[in-house]
Point group: C2
Chain length 184, copies 2
DNA sequence: GTATGCATGTAATACGTTACATGATTGT
DNA sequence: ACAATCATGTAACGTATTACATGCATAC
């Protein structure tokens, strides 16, 4: 992979730094304690990632370097960084994302609401729900046709996947309803 | 990470080779077409992984090398390989697995049923269901106490996680019931 | 005999992980 | 003064990814 600054970790760092100035240590503690989609809190992943973001001018230290090398160093997002974040958030919801990286989509959902607001989030959720339902339907059809001559474990594994899609689609519909209700 | 032969990819390769002799190309096509938990079908991941398994004597070529370097080369599992696979399958279901790598657990479920049979699988599913329910309960309690002063997106993201745990736990109970019904 | 698909492999690169190193701050 | 903790960073290692290379088989 050629240097890929659009992978998940840098985007999460960008999104969290956009909320408020944060240091590497702040971010590590958030990853260590957060109940959701987990990233490693190891210094060996976060500090290099922050250094890359800084090289690209997507974040910058809040205050000028004051000489002492081991002090707390909070970062803020730059205009270019915000543009990169918004671009990532605005990517279409692909079937591949829905099947392989639903956790990434949830991160995008949370940041999208903060950064772009209600209307963009409604569009996002609607696309998400659409993809999820399509997947659920195609698994259901596959099961209907092949149930008879599948191994038990194979069928159960498919039913597991089906259950996940259904639960996520239901969640998306509830979230959509709630967002629409909040129409100012 | 020191050479870690117990990560997911080598174990999946081992499990599939145990089912029947398979070549790297066979495995690539399975990954490219399978509807479930996806691994990369790129040659750059699979052939090196097979080479490492072969170095550890966990798999071996079906027939002796016949000189021609670019011919189909199916592998079988060795006794040591089977032992390593069974050890991986027998690992306890940890909370960290349940939260961070449910896909791995589903792979283990499928192979466990093939390799160790019904009783081991029932124990596995029972542990899985237990962990899932515990997670669901703790998220529910957290939501109850903090709902009021959470951001909308934050609460929705938690509810998404809750929905996944609930759906998985329901699946596990259905699977358990079906396995128990099949007693002899 | 040559184009197409089958099949195995390697090289360059980036990144995450683990373990370790080191400086600053705070409490006693 | 010293320990504990805060905070940033580096080194070694393994591995996934992308792109490329190479040989065999088959059909035409």
């Amino acid at each position: 992979m050629k240097n890929n600054p659009n992978s998940t970790l840098p985007m999460v760092l960008l999104g969290l730094i956009r909320q408020a100035p944060r240091s590497g240590y702040d971010l590590r503690r958030m990853f260590a304690s957060s109940p959701l989609a987990h990233f490693s809190d190891s210094p060996g992943s976060i500090y290099p990632a922050l250094a890359r973001l800084q090289q690209r001018r997507w974040i910058r230290p809040v205050d000028e370097p004051d000489g002492s090398p081991r002090r707390r160093r909070p970062f803020t997002i730059t205009p270019q960084g915000l543009a990169a974040l918004e671009k990532w958030l605005s990517r279409p919801v692909t079937g591949s994302d829905v099947r392989l990286r639903p956790g990434d989509l949830m991160l995008r959902f949370a940041f999208l609401f903060e950064v772009r607001g209600r209307t963009s989030t409604i569009r996002f959720l609607s696309d998400f729900e659409h993809e999820l339902s399509a997947n659920a339907i195609s698994i259901r059809e596959y099961l209907k046709e092949n149930k008879a001559h599948m191994s038990m474990a194979g069928r159960m594994a498919l039913e597991y996947g089906l259950g996940e899609y259904v639960a996520r689609a239901e969640w998306a519909r509830r979230a959509l309803a709630e967002l629409r209700r909040r129409r100012r």
